[in-house]
């Protein structure tokens, strides 16, 4: 990824994948090419897996200051989704054992309910800017995957063998037949919506559910959510009042 990026609100310095000293050298070289171009702007450093040490930050601040740039802050790049989705104490094997137990007791893994999910608590403080939503138009075919730090909206079908992983909600304006994982970094208030919800597997945060009811043919839009630590599905018409 290139080191410098201009954004509407200032400069971004992408340190991920760079050796810190090499990055500073490169930064100094780039800035000296156009000494006054960035004067007066602010910059945000975006670190990769390892955040910079205080000493490193000082070096960065000085390098920028000599070009008239103020270091505004440091952000850490979001973990690769698949890593977080998997490592998130997501011992899905444990969840599977739980499902096996329930099956023995004759309980289906996925509960169909007519009760609406509880409305989320109102935010008391300034929430961080909402993550972007990935908006995809077109049918997704087997073997394709969409991973996104935010919400995912698909206008089209999601075929079996496809994988959707989102930190937020997942909305499929079509048939959801593949695997959908919402709230992939632990948000168990995340939901999965579909016009025709018949996913091979549903995952929300650390909950996982298989739709054992093969005969089910959803004739109306449904939403999946977590209730009492398990995934439940309700007809969308019943929960439409939940704005979220």
């Amino acid at each position: 990824m290139s080191l410098l990026r201009g954004r509407g609100l200032g400069l971004e310095i992408h340190l991920a994948g760079w050796d810190f000293d090499a990055a500073i050298a490169e930064l100094a070289a780039r800035l000296s090419e156009r000494p006054d171009f960035y004067r007066g702007t602010s910059a945000t450093a975006i670190a990769g897996e390892t955040p910079p040490s205080p000493e490193q930050l000082d070096v960065l601040r000085e390098t920028l200051a000599s070009a008239g740039i103020e270091l505004h802050g440091v952000r850490q790049r979001v973990l690769k989704l698949s890593d977080s989705a998997r490592s998130l104490v997501a011992d899905f094997a444990g969840a599977r054992a739980d499902i096996a137990e329930r099956r023995k007791r004759g309980e289906a893994s996925v509960r169909r309910t007519n009760a609406a999910p509880a409305a989320p608590a109102p935010a008391l403080q300034l929430a961080p800017p909402a993550p972007g939503t990935l908006y995809h138009v077109g049918t997704l075919r087997g073997g394709q995957a969409l991973h996104h730090p935010g919400n995912i909206v698909v206008v089209g079908d999601v075929n079996p063998g496809t994988e959707l992983v989102a930190t937020g909600d997942i909305v499929v304006f079509g048939r959801l037949l593949g695997v959908a994982h919402a709230g992939a970094q632990g948000d168990d208030t995340a939901k999965v919506y579909a016009l025709h919800l018949q996913a091979t597997q549903l995952r929300i945060a650390t909950c996982i559910a298989l739709d054992e009811d093969r005969a089910h043919d959803a004739s109306e839009p449904e939403v999946a959510f977590v209730r009492d630590g398990r995934i439940a599905i309700a007809p969308f018409s019943k929960v439409a009042e939940v704005a979220g």
Binding site: T139, L140, R141, G142, G143, Q144, D157, N159, P160, G161
Partner: protein, 282 residues
Amino acid sequence: MAMHQPVPDEVAAPAAVKLGRAIVITSGKGGVGKTTTTANLGTALAQRGARVALVDADVGLRNLDIVLGLESRVKFHLLDVLEEKAALDEALVRDKHSESLVLLAAAQAREKEEVDTDRMRALIAALRERCDYVLIDCPAGIELGFKNAIAGADEAIVVCTPEVSAVRDVDRVVGLLGNRFKPQLIINRLRPQLVKKGKMLSVEDVNAILRLPLLGVIADEPEIIITTNKGEPLALRRDGETANAYHTIAARVAGEDVPAPAPELRESLMDKLGSFFGGRRA
């Protein structure tokens, strides 16, 4: 001839060559009938008078030559041409039955990794200059062999059987192909009787997932295996359901507005007897 005025440069230049269509026949899943379809569709197109080149891209596991009965006539193969050990004309084998059909066989004792993608693309382009249709028989899978087979093609026909694993694999391939190839679907090996009994996926079941324009449906017939083993494509015949299906598909590929062939659900005598006595046939 009297010259009334100086001839403008444009007229002196040669007419642009009309490029033939390069269509890859693919599926992802093996054994669904790609090679048989390539041979029969190619034959049917040639029987209509088109100049057709068939290219076997299954390096190391070549079969198109067997299906056409031409294995003894192959002197040079695809890799010989790509590596410039032989000229294209030396490698192209004329079909036994159809005048305007030629075959470029794959190599048997070589590997797919030895095919250079850019050269493959250039080869297909060269074939397009002299043919109306270049049909490329794609190997099973989605590895290098597949990638090389689609290089140079700009259309695709996907072949699928009414089985869940085939649908799964074909869906993957269609996803990999993307919109550029405008894939169309042939459903192969349908057994209408089994579909009627609910023991096989129907055309609707298959296309509910694949959502592709349907070129045609071909019923399963023992004749197909027989003719494949003998090296005489069914499309050489003028009658018979399968032969007609291929001729209709060829017409549709050529742009004619004919309805897609679909096998009828004719109840055979054995089925009637079976249901009379009840239970399974042994």
